[in-house]
Symmetry: C2
Subunit: 285 residues, 2 copies
């Protein structure tokens, strides 16, 4: 029976697809999400996702009681999701968590909203090996990312900037779009983090004002630093890319996509990019 179903969704540990239209996640985007790859039954970078979520809950001011509730639901739901993924007989699955502050009194005031909503869903995912191998072309988005240190880094539910940026192109020519902040600094792709290499040094944008601190970005930075190669976290404009030798974008689901074209720049898939892809393969993340 289970193996015939294509996806599973649990809301507060109970199988369901429906939430209250009074939920603060809908009303205000008052919550967070995580997207986790499950590879052969193993949730990749699970500890990183859990840590980012916990930091986000703290930064959004979820009460300790709410955080305890969230973690109890997650523990139960993740186990069910993994079991479902194993039964699916699909080599790769995607598990998504959405955690909201639940229902509350009317208005922005969140005091008393201590009954969070925890949504865990899982479905098959097909890795795009061609994009990993041959690379992708990247669109130059016009929509900027606003700067706000109170929200930067978090994978929160306020994602209209990404929705608008992603709507700027259609079709298959571009696999991703690059976003700058309102000050013209390189930040990230609409759904991925950005890295580039210049003269053997690896760079990635500073995310203290805008952007999402991706778990794969974190893994890559740590993995490189273990071999003595420090990634430079920088605040730079688009010219930095024009001078780069290699460029890639990444997230925990797509892995690493080499960038082969952006504006009038063209790159081959570079050796450092290939080396990072190899590390990820070996680490099975």
């Amino acid at each position: 029976m289970l193996s015939r179903m294509k996806s599973l969704t649990l809301i507060n540990s109970v199988e369901s697809d429906l939430i209250s239209c009074k939920d603060r996640g809908l009303a205000y985007g008052d919550g967070l999400f995580e997207t986790i790859k499950i590879l052969k039954g193993n949730p990749c970078l699970l500890a990183y996702h859990q840590e980012r979520l916990r930091q986000g809950l703290n930064r959004l001011g979820f009460s300790q009681q709410a955080i305890t509730t969230v973690e109890a639901h997650l523990t139960a739901s993740i186990e069910a999701a993994i079991q479902f993924a194993i039964n699916l007989d699909s080599a790769c699955c995607v598990m998504k968590w959405i955690v909201t502050r639940g229902e509350g009194v009317r208005g922005y005031n969140s005091s008393g909203a201590d009954h969070p909503t925890v949504i865990v869903s899982v479905a098959p995912y097909v890795t795009d090996l061609a994009k990993q191998k041959q690379g992708v072309r990247v669109f130059d988005c016009n929509t900027p990312l606003a700067r706000n240190p109170f929200l930067s880094g978090l994978k929160h539910l306020n994602r209209l900037e990404q929705v608008l940026a992603r709507s700027e192109w259609d079709g298959e020519e571009y696999a991703e779009g690059l976003m700058l902040d309102t000050a013209g600094n390189l930040i990230e792709g609409t759904m991925s983090n950005l890295f580039w290499v210049n003269a053997g040094v690896v760079y990635t944008p500073d995310l203290s004002q805008s952007g999402i601190e991706g778990t794969l970005r974190r893994f890559i930075i740590q993995s490189l630093s273990e071999t003595g190669q420090t990634v430079q976290i920088v605040t730079l404009g688009i010219n930095a890319l024009k001078e780069a030798d290699e460029v890639f974008v990444c997230n925990s689901l797509i892995g690493v996509w080499p960038v082969v074209q952006f504006l009038d720049c063209h790159w081959d898939v570079g050796s450092i990019t290939l080396d990072i892809q190899k590390r990820l393969d070996e680490a099975e993340v």
Copy 2:
């Protein structure tokens, strides 16, 4: 039967409280909302709310087909909501609309998401006459509003900044909190627009980078201009308030609340503020 129920919610014209957890309104805040006062069975400033919503749908790139669907659901639901409000025998009600892009494919890409979700709810509302008469104290929020002209003005569902700002104070001492943008410019309250008077001239912040263009703000600006009193739309820091003779905040639900204290500034309820309150009363908005 109807009169015993305290509130009514229609989702796509059908009575319900539940939406799909795959709705893009929840996943990304991909939608808009409006909050409308119903006074003695009349929705106040209805045309302004409808116009702002339509402009928002266009700016978010909703398809013409989706907009047509939204407007059909709204027409049917508003009629039902007004009838419910009349039956409630409550002098004042609040009607809330939430319009989202509905369900779509996974990811930020909204192409093909042409089945919007239209939520209309109505419930009694008690006007706080004491705050209108005696004025309110306003908290100085630390959370800034980010600047992004692609989203400014819209009453969209990405409201984490307001949630964080509202969580900065508790209790009854402050009725509202004031928010600056990240550049230090006065913008608005967490749930209201801001006006002040200096030497007989009325000012309100420019909202081209941040903030929500409130319908009551628009009404006040138009109403004053009809008497030859042009409201100055300005980009100014907090010192402008310190030099003000009168300050008030407003939204379509609370009306006009005179501000009697902010930081170390104290004001009486001013004559221009009283005059504006009188106009609103007379216009029944």
